[in-house]
Amino acid sequence: MLQAYTDVLIFLLVGAGFVVLNMALGRLLRPHNPYPEKLTPYECGEVPVGEGQVPFNIRYYIFALLFVVFDVEVVFLFPWSVVLRDLGLYAFVLMVIFLVMLVDGLVYAWKKGVLRWV
């Protein structure tokens, strides 16, 4: 069991190592000649206006909230899905009731027009 997750850690490290190794290898090959004009952020060839990390209107606050609701729902669905065959119709009906309540919320958000992206 622990071995399985050791492998996950090793794979993450190997993946990271591949990038680091190639960057180190590239250091031997690539030129290094920075100057201020070259390092300016790209803005279609113009001199950049202001900062790049500007305050930004995130339109999808409601989307993110709905996403959290559905993701939590999925957490309940996963264990249910594995044992459904043994629990039978009763468990299925219970989950349908649970899902209908959630879908109700989605339909409400839909009717309210908060899912419009403009």
């Binding site: 990271a16 690539r30 290094h32 390092l39 999808y60």
Partner: protein
């Protein structure tokens, strides 16, 4: 081979954990090599396929039939100057490609190359897949925010919106697969589909497959859902400021994810890496490359869709479809026993 190595480890006085870690390391290197070779091949294939679809030849000059083109590109990328824009958040900027590639590699732990041949058959395989694929949005946000560039910021914000919208239908369609197999293990999912085409999940799960394939294309940013890097509006989206090999890492990770996505589509719905006559690994390659070619066909046929259309498709079409599929699958599983 493994016995000989185990003997060697005992001789050096190293225990089983060290041996297992070493084996894990070898598997990791093999998987990364597999991904790198596939990416080289796929980039060539993509250029050839797009060439023929658009009635031109694609690369022909470098090597026989242009086969060495990607290799030449890789060498070019390695020898490009490493430019980090002024005002960038250096640590995050450098970390972003590392995160995306580490996630793309870690995904391959659970993907079956044969009926029981995977690095680790995790008992939470399906949850693991949705968790690891979710990491790529983190890398996009890191790349977009740290670049100090407005195009990058816009691209990464879009990618976050896109990924959270399509994560839900994707995971719901995966849950239905878990219900069919009665297990979250990928080994069990392959085993449940043995014994002929009639047992493949595609037939009861046709709706689930459509949802999975559409949402999956969006998750790996393939056209027509490649809005995070929409060239015609956002220059290059989240990776505008990336150049040289750092950009190459994003590119390779994208293709690694394409291979993984195709392999998963084959595993979940088309019987996985098994078939008559030929060995499992060959079937793995045949089925995986079939879906890769379908994805390429879609990419070079359909135009990119608009942001609001993208969100509408996710919330108004795919999520309801995925829920209907879930209800149908529940009935199917309960009534068939």
């Amino acid at each position: 081979m493994t016995d000989w190595l185990w003997g060697l480890f005992q001789q050096w006085g190293l225990g089983e954990p060290a041996f297992n870690a070493f084996m894990g390391l070898i598997k990791g290197v093999l998987v990364v090599a597999f991904l790198a070779v596939n990416a080289l091949l796929l980039i060539y294939l993509e250029r050839k396929v797009s060439g023929y679809i658009q009635n031109r030849l694609g690369p022909t000059r470098t090597g026989p039939k242009g086969l060495l083109q990607t290799l030449a590109d890789a060498v070019k990328l390695l020898s490009k100057e490493d430019v980090i824009p002024s005002g960038a958040d250096r640590a995050v900027y450098i970390l972003a490609p590392i995160v995306i590639f580490a996630a793309a590699t870690a995904l391959w732990i659970v993907i079956p190359f044969g009926p029981q041949t995977m690095v680790q058959d995790l008992n939470i395989g399906l949850i693991y897949i949705s968790a690891v694929t979710g990491l790529s949005v983190l890398a996009f946000l890191m790349a977009g925010w740290s670049s100090n560039n407005k195009w990058s910021l816009l691209g990464s914000m879009r990618s976050a919106a896109q990924l959270i919208s399509y994560e839900v239908p994707l995971v719901l369609s995966i849950v239905a697969v878990g219900m069919m197999a009665g297990s979250l293990r990928l080994g069990d999912i392959v085993a449940a589909q043995q014994g002929g085409i009639g047992n493949w999940f595609i037939f009861p799960q046709i709706l689930g497959f459509i949802v999975f394939f559409t949402a999956g294309l969006a998750e790996i940013n393939r056209a027509p859902f490649d809005l995070p890097e929409a060239e015609s509006e956002l220059v290059a989206g989240f990776n505008t400021e990336y150049s040289g090999f750092r950009w190459g890492v994003f590119f390779v990770a994208e293709y690694a994810n394409l291979v993984a996505f195709s392999a998963l589509a084959a595993t979940f719905f088309f019987g996985g890496p098994t078939g008559p006559v030929l060995p499992p690994f060959v079937w793995f390659l045949i089925k995986t490359y079939f879906f890769i070619l379908v994805a390429m066909w879609i990419r070079w046929t359909l135009p990119r869709i608009r942001v609001d259309h993208l969100m509408n498709l996710g919330w108004y079409v795919l999520i309801p479809l995925a829920l209907i599929n879930l209800g149908w699958t529940g009935l199917y599983v309960v009534l068939r026993g």
